[in-house]
């Protein structure tokens, strides 16, 4: 998930999309764009041949697609210190691009090429769990050679084995974060600790929830006593949808959106949200502690973004070298000090003590067992479930 920026990820995605699609959209409601994109292949089936030749030894490059403001950045030199240092020490020419604005949009952009086995222009992509699951399932990723990443042993035990990638053979966690409640402390001194607090009558029309289905629904389901991390029934999911629908219908929820809820918290248009830990933490820092974040009493969600090597990459070894660098605790601490999300690297906390002791004790960056016991990772859905639930969620939110 991207972090602070004058424009939200949603807005940036729109601006980008506008450049290519506006002419069509304006005229025929996207008909042209849909047609063109459909013509490029409707994507989805497994790649036939994944026999790419690794040319890492002759081409010393690596191309990385990541979310915006998701790597330590020096405003003065306009560069990424950890990346620059690694470029020097490794001799690799690394192209770092903030090209991921939204999991779905990014997938829509590259899936046609992946299906045809054509180079998508990246050697590392950074995508959220459920999208990573889809890539791995479809064979759009390469196996990562553990020998190429000695630092892989530093991954937090909780993240070392995940349902969508047993044994972490094809992915490696980049950052992790919580979804929970964010609120304006001046307007709501009592704080928001449950969905009842969030939907208190006084907040009517000034509440925003995430457009990321798994986070918003995961929180509502846990409020209703359903564990979203294990198999649940369709009726249980639809119950939660009904809850969301009712709150939209009666005007409690102002908007359903991605990162741009931050702008609305600052402007005062929204006073309480379902949002992401790192975002709210960053907002609080920039606004003299005006905002606070809490994991819901009934339970929040935990998501991760994962680095993967696309099946089309011909620079696997170089990509592994980059991943290895960021699993060095000292480097990971430097990144965490900037991005404020949960650091997936063991030993980074000790390194953080040297950089900033207050950050080292932050429950947002280095959560303790108590915090982790209050969050769930949304269960992996089958393709049919994903389509069905996503449709229900989109319909409930007015789309």
């Amino acid at each position: 998930m991207p972090k602070n920026s004058p424009l939200s990820a949603e807005t940036r995605a729109l601006i980008k999309a506008q450049m290519s699609r506006r002419g069509f959209i304006a005229g025929v409601g996207g008909a042209g764009a849909v047609g063109l994109l459909a013509a490029c292949g409707t994507g989805g089936s497994k790649t036939e041949a994944s026999a790419v030749v690794d040319v890492s030894d002759t081409e010393k490059i690596a191309r990385w697609a990541n979310w915006t403001l998701y790597l330590d950045f020096d405003e003065k030199t306009k560069s990424y210190p950890t990346l620059e240092a690694f470029k020097k020490s490794s001799g690799l020419d690394i192209t770092y691009k903030e090209d991921v604005d939204d999991n779905n949009t990014f997938y829509g952009k590259v899936s046609g090429q992946l299906k045809l086995g054509k180079d998508i222009g990246y050697d590392i992509v950074t995508l959220t769990d459920w999208m990573a699951a889809r890539w791995i399932r479809l064979g759009y990723t390469q196996k990562i050679d553990a020998d190429g990443i000695p630092n892989k042993v530093n991954i937090l035990p909780a993240l070392s084995d995940v349902s969508f990638d047993p044994g972490r053979t094809n992915s490696l966690t980049w950052q992790t974060g919580f979804a929970g409640f964010g609120w304006n402390k001046e307007k709501l001194p009592g704080g928001v600790h449950s969905l009842d607090d969030l939907f208190a009558p006084a907040n009517k029309g000034r509440i925003e929830v995430l457009s990321e289905m798994r986070d918003t629904m995961g929180i509502i389901m846990q409020y209703q006593g359903v564990d979203p991390s294990v198999t649940f029934t369709e009726a249980q999911f639809m119950n939660a949808i009904d809850f969301l629908k009712a709150r939209i219908e009666d005007g409690f929820i102002r908007q359903v959106k991605g990162n741009s809820y931050k702008e609305d918290l600052i402007s005062g248009d929204a006073i309480a949200v379902i949002g992401w830990s790192g975002d709210v933490f960053q907002l609080a820092l920039e606004n003299d502690g005006k905002f606070d974040f809490a994991i819901p009493e009934s339970g929040g969600t935990l998501w991760s973004d994962n680095m993967m090597i696309p099946s089309t990459s011909t620079h696997r070894k170089n990509a592994e070298a980059v991943m290895n660098n960021y699993y060095d605790p000292a480097v990971a601490a430097q990144v965490a000090a900037y991005v404020n999300y949960i650091c997936p690297v063991e030993g980074a906390q000790a390194e953080m003590e040297k950089i900033d002791p207050t950050l080292a004790s932050s429950p947002y960056i280095f959560p303790d067992a108590a915090a982790l016991s209050k969050v769930k990772v949304f269960a992996t859905l089958t393709p049919e479930e994903e389509t069905k639930y996503q449709t229900a969620f989109q319909t409930a939110t007015g789309n």
Partner: protein, 298 residues
């Protein structure tokens, strides 16, 4: 085809052009552009719209099964947004007409040496991105913005009432964004009016209102029709104003198409909705143009 025939007929009358193939050659670039970027995608789109997911197929896998019921499903799922798009676009078009007509009239007849400057000002917003202008409205109408502050001071709005995230904001944004499309054709048709027709009207003892009603307005009708079409068509398909200025209850058909395409990866429904939107707009426009009966319009 009638058009091609007309062109070739005319060209044969023009001195100097001997080869009858010339008009066809001239049509090649335009037609091939249309074939490549309009007709071909349209056919693909039509194909996509009747596809279905095979049993056990992964997200985004579709095969052709000619399931025309896709259209019924798509429509019944988005009836509300369809209707809303048409209503919002209609209101925005009428508002734009009400605002643009006096503006275009003033520029055409009363602006004197300021005419060019005023025209540039009408077009000036085009120099900034459509999106940035819409985001600006979010600030202007926002709770801390000037409009709300003034209205609250005047007790027109309650202390907790805002303007953004509402149907009002969406229609306002649309009206603003498509205003130049209305103003320019209106100006062009008003500007073309022969002043002698207006003099004739006053010679025949028509007062200002009668002159406007019987002479100016009828002569500007082509501009009115062109302006309303240029505003209504893009407004009905717009989704950016609804995304940035609306709430979940003001989503338009463009939002539904976008979410089906990108969020759900449901290409057939997105394609079916796009087709229905095109058809709906086409029918509305045809009825309108026929009723308005402006043959000179092109």
């Amino acid at each position: 085809m009638a058009f091609i025939a007309a062109v070739s007929k005319r060209s044969s009358n023009v001195r100097g052009i001997k080869r009858p193939s010339t008009p066809y050659l001239l049509l090649i670039p335009g037609l091939s552009w249309l074939a490549m970027f309009f007709i071909f995608p349209l056919i693909t789109l039509a194909g996509t719209s009747t596809q279905t997911t095979p049993a056990g197929g992964d997200t985004g896998t579709y095969v052709q099964t000619f399931r025309f019921a896709n259209y019924i499903d798509a429509f019944s799922g988005a009836r509300e947004q369809f209707l809303r798009s048409i209503v919002y676009a209609l209101i925005a078009t009428l508002l734009a007409l009400a605002i643009s007509y006096p503006l275009a009239y003033a520029i055409a007849f009363k602006s004197g040496k300021w005419k060019n400057l005023l025209l540039v000002l009408v077009v000036a917003p085009f120099f900034t991105s459509f999106l940035l202008r819409t985001i600006a409205w979010k600030q202007i109408l926002g709770n801390e913005g000037p409009v709300v502050t003034v209205l609250r001071t005047l007790h027109i709005l309650g202390p907790e009432t805002g303007l953004t995230a509402s149907a009002f904001a969406v229609v306002t944004g649309m009206t603003y964004n498509f205003l130049p499309f209305m103003t320019l054709p209106l100006y062009a048709s008003l500007e073309r009016i022969d002043p002698r027709t207006l003099e004739a009207a006053s010679d025949l003892y028509a007062n200002g209102i009668t002159t406007f009603r019987k002479v100016t307005f009828p002569l500007s009708l082509p501009g009115v029709v062109a302006g309303t079409l240029l505003t209504f068509i893009p407004a009905a398909g717009d989704y950016i104003n609804a995304t940035l200025l609306g709430n979940p209850k003001t989503k338009m058909i463009g939002n539904v198409i976008e979410s089906r395409f990108f969020e759900i990866v449901d290409y057939p429904t997105a394609a079916a909705l796009s087709f229905m939107l095109m058809a709906a707009i086409l029918i509305l426009v045809m009825v309108y143009v026929r009723r308005a009966g402006t043959d000179e319009l092109v």
